[in-house]
C-alpha cells in the first residue's frame, strides 16, 4: 500500500492539487458555486498548455514567445470545422493536432536555425503573423472571433454538453499530458533534450543530431498545446484572434516560470496560481494589472525558482 503513497513533499503537493481538481465538481456542488467548476476547467486547460510549453522551455531551453499560436490553431480548427457543420470530434481533434504538427514543423524548422534573442523574436513574429491572418479572416469573424454553436461530438456515451463529461475530459487530458511528459522526459529522447539545454556543443560532439531532437520536441509541444486549444474551444464555445496574441504567449511563459521551469508539475501549479491570483485580484479592483505586473517583476527578481522551488532542490527530472 505504501508504494502508492507520494514519496516526497513535492509529490504530496502534486497529489493534493490533482485530487482537488478531481473533486472540484463535488466541492462546487456542495457549496453551490458551480462557477468554481468553470474556473477549474479553464485553469486545467491553461495547465495543459503550460505543461506543453515547459517541455521546450523548461527542459529544452527554447524560449518560444509564440506558443499561444498553437492554442489558437486548436481552437480555430474546432471553430472552422463546426462552422462548416463538421462536429465529430473524430474528425476535428485529429485534424487540429495534425495542423498544429505541420505548422510547428515548418515554424520550428525556420526558427530553430536561430539562437538567443533571435529565436525569441522570430517565434513571436511568426505567431503574430498567424494572429494577423486570423484578424483579417472576415469569413471567420476576424477581430470579433468565431462563435462555436455546437461542441465537438465525441460519441461513445460521452456528451461534452454535460458539464461533468466536459470537466472530466479536460481532467483526463491533463493527467495524460502529465503522464506523457513524465515518460518523455525520462526517456532517451528527453535526456538528449535536457543535455542539449545544458550544452549543445557537447551533445553534438557526442554524435547527436541536436537540431532534429529540438525540432521533434518543438512539434510535440505544439501538438500538446493545440489539444489545450481544442478543449478551450469546447469550454468557451468561442475562439478569437486574442487566443494567439503575443501577450497570451507571455502569460503562458509566466505560468511556467511561476510554477518552476523544468519541473513536471510546476507548470500546473503555475497555471493554477496565475488564475487564482487573477481571480482574487480582480475581485478587489478592475485595475488588478497594477498589482499583477509588479508581482511578476518581483517573482523574476526574487523567486526565480517558482513554486517548485519551495520544495527544495530537485535531484531528478520530475
Amino acid at each position: 500500500m505504501s508504494a502508492l503513497l507520494p514519496a516526497s513533499p513535492r509529490a504530496w503537493f502534486a497529489a493534493v492539487v490533482l485530487a482537488l481538481c478531481a473533486a472540484m465538481p463535488v466541492i462546487a456542488g456542495a457549496i453551490d458555486e458551480p462557477y468554481y467548476m468553470d474556473i477549474f476547467a479553464r485553469m486545467m486547460i491553461w495547465a495543459i498548455a503550460a505543461v506543453s510549453l515547459n517541455l521546450i522551455l523548461g527542459y529544452g531551453g527554447m524560449i518560444s514567445f509564440g506558443h499561444a499560436l498553437y492554442l489558437g490553431l486548436g481552437g480555430y480548427t474546432v471553430g472552422i470545422c463546426s462552422y462548416y457543420g463538421i462536429d465529430s470530434a473524430l474528425v476535428q481533434w485529429p485534424l487540429a493536432l495534425v495542423i498544429a504538427a505541420l505548422v510547428a514543423l515548418a515554424f520550428g524548422a525556420i526558427s530553430l536555425r536561430t539562437r538567443g534573442v533571435y529565436f525569441i523574436m522570430i517565434t513571436m513574429a511568426l505567431a503574430q503573423m498567424v494572429y494577423f491572418l486570423a484578424v483579417s479572416a472576415e469569413e471567420y469573424g476576424s477581430d470579433d472571433g468565431l462563435v462555436i454553436y455546437t461542441r465537438s461530438e465525441l460519441g461513445g456515451g460521452f456528451d461534452l454538453n454535460e458539464p461533468l463529461h466536459l470537466y472530466y475530459t479536460i481532467f483526463g487530458c491533463l493527467l495524460l499530458a502529465l503522464y506523457f511528459t513524465r515518460r518523455l522526459v525520462a526517456s532517451r529522447f528527453g535526456m538528449v533534450i535536457r543535455g542539449v539545454q545544458s550544452n549543445e556543443t557537447r551533445m553534438e560532439t557526442l554524435g547527436f543530431a541536436t537540431l532534429r531532437y529540438r525540432l521533434a520536441a518543438f512539434v510535440i509541444a505544439g501538438v500538446m498545446c493545440a489539444a489545450a486549444g481544442v478543449l478551450s474551444a469546447n469550454v468557451e464555445k468561442f475562439v478569437s484572434p486574442d487566443a494567439l496574441h503575443w501577450t497570451r504567449s507571455g502569460e503562458l511563459i509566466f505560468m511556467v516560470v511561476l510554477g518552476g521551469m523544468g519541473s513536471l508539475f510546476g507548470p500546473v501549479a503555475g497555471a493554477l496560481a496565475f488564475w487564482l491570483l487573477a481571480e482574487v485580484l480582480s475581485r478587489f479592483t478592475e485595475h488588478w494589472h497594477l498589482v499583477f505586473g509588479p508581482f511578476l517583476l518581483l517573482v523574476i527578481l526574487f523567486a526565480r525558482s517558482g513554486i517548485d522551488g519551495l520544495f527544495g532542490t530537485r535531484d531528478d527530472a520530475g
Binding site: 501577450t247 488588478w288 517583476l297
Partner: protein, 306 residues
C-alpha cells in the same frame, strides 16, 4: 496604376519607416550594448504620447508639449533603468522578457488609471494642419512630412553622436567589450543608464510624433513594438545602420503591401480570391519578409562587426 497614389503611399511608407527607426534605435542599442531584451520599450513610446498630450493640452502648444515631454520620458526611462532593469542585465534573456512583460501590464493599466479610459487626442499643430504641394502637383500632409524630416534629422544626429563624439565612442566600446571599458575607468553603469534614457527619449519622440494622427491610447505600444522587433532582428541586433535600413524597408513593404497587394493579386487570381487573400497576405507581408531574411542570414542583414 495611379502614380499620384503610388508616390503618396511611398511617402506614407517612408513616414512609418522613420517612426519605426526611432523606436528600433533604442531597442537595438540596449540589445547591442546591455544585451538586454526590453519588451517594455513600447510602453515608453506610449508614455511619450501621453506626456506630450497632457503637456500640449496644458500649454496649448504642441511644440512645448514635445520639448517638455522629451525630458520627462528621458527621466522616466532612466528611473525604470535604475530602479529595476539594471539588476537584470546579468540574468538570462527569459528573465528580461518576463520582467519587462510585467512592466507592460503595469504601464498599460497605469495610464488607464491616470488618464481617461479612451485615451487622449490633440489637434494638429496649426502650422502643420493641411497639405503642402510637392512636385508633379502632388499634395501631401504637412504634418506627415514633418515626421519624415524630424525623423531623418534625429537619425543623422544619432549617427553623429555614435560615430563622431566621445560619448559615442564609449557607447561603441561598451558594446564591444563592457568589462574592458569598465576597467579603463569609465562608469559603465552610468553609460548604460544614459543609453537606456536615450532610447526611451527616442521611443517617446515617436509616440509624440504620431500623437496628432493616432492619439494616445493604453496598449498602443504593443501594436508597434513587434514591428520594431522585426526591424531590429532584420537589421541585425545592435546595428543602428541596419535598423535604419530595415525600418525604411519594413515601412515601405507594409504600407505598399496594404494599398497595392490586392491590385497585384488581381493579375494572378480570380476577383473574389484576390479580395479575400489581399488583406490577409498584406498584413503578413513584413513577417514573411523577416522570415526570408532570417532564413538566408540568421544574424540579420547588418550584424555589427565584433
Amino acid at each position: 496604376m495611379d502614380w499620384v497614389l503610388l508616390i503618396e503611399q511611398c511617402l506614407n511608407g517612408f513616414q512609418l519607416g522613420v517612426l519605426l527607426f526611432l523606436i528600433a534605435a533604442g531597442l537595438t542599442l540596449t540589445f547591442g550594448i546591455m544585451d538586454f531584451v526590453n519588451l517594455a520599450h513600447g510602453s515608453l513610446y506610449m508614455l511619450g504620447a501621453f506626456f506630450c498630450a497632457t503637456l500640449t493640452l496644458w500649454t496649448d502648444s504642441f511644440l512645448l508639449g514635445v520639448l517638455l515631454g522629451l525630458p520627462a520620458v528621458l527621466a522616466a526611462g532612466m528611473l525604470i533603468e535604475v530602479t529595476t532593469l539594471r539588476t537584470l542585465y546579468q540574468r538570462h534573456h527569459l528573465d528580461h522578457v518576463l520582467a519587462t512583460f510585467g512592466l507592460i501590464l503595469f504601464f498599460n493599466e497605469l495610464v488607464q488609471v491616470i488618464w481617461p479610459l479612451d485615451g487622449l487626442r490633440v489637434p494638429f499643430p496649426p502650422a502643420f494642419d493641411g497639405s503642402v504641394p510637392l512636385i508633379l502637383g502632388i499634395e501631401y500632409s504637412a504634418f506627415r512630412l514633418l515626421i519624415i524630416v524630424v525623423g531623418l534629422a534625429v537619425a543623422a544626429g544619432l549617427w553623429f553622436l555614435v560615430a563622431r563624439t566621445r560619448i559615442g565612442m564609449l557607447v561603441r566600446a561598451g558594446a564591444a567589450n563592457p568589462a574592458m571599458v569598465s576597467a579603463l575607468g569609465v562608469n559603465i553603469r552610468l553609460l548604460f543608464t544614459f543609453v537606456f534614457g536615450l532610447g526611451a527619449a527616442l521611443a517617446g519622440l515617436a509616440g509624440m510624433l504620431v500623437l496628432p494622427i493616432l492619439g494616445a491610447n493604453s496598449g498602443m505600444g504593443e501594436q508597434i513594438i513587434i514591428l520594431a522587433f522585426v526591424v531590429v532582428v532584420v537589421g541585425g541586433i545592435g546595428s543602428i545602420r541596419g535598423a535604419f535600413i530595415a525600418a525604411l524597408v519594413t515601412g515601405l513593404i507594409d504600407t505598399l503591401g496594404r494599398s497595392f497587394l490586392d491590385v497585384l493579386l488581381l493579375a494572378f487570381l480570380p476577383t473574389n480570391a484576390a479580395e479575400a487573400a489581399g488583406p490577409a497576405l498584406s498584413s503578413m507581408l513584413i513577417y514573411i519578409f523577416m522570415v526570408v531574411v532570417l532564413f538566408l542570414r540568421p544574424q540579420g542583414l547588418f550584424p555589427p562587426g565584433r
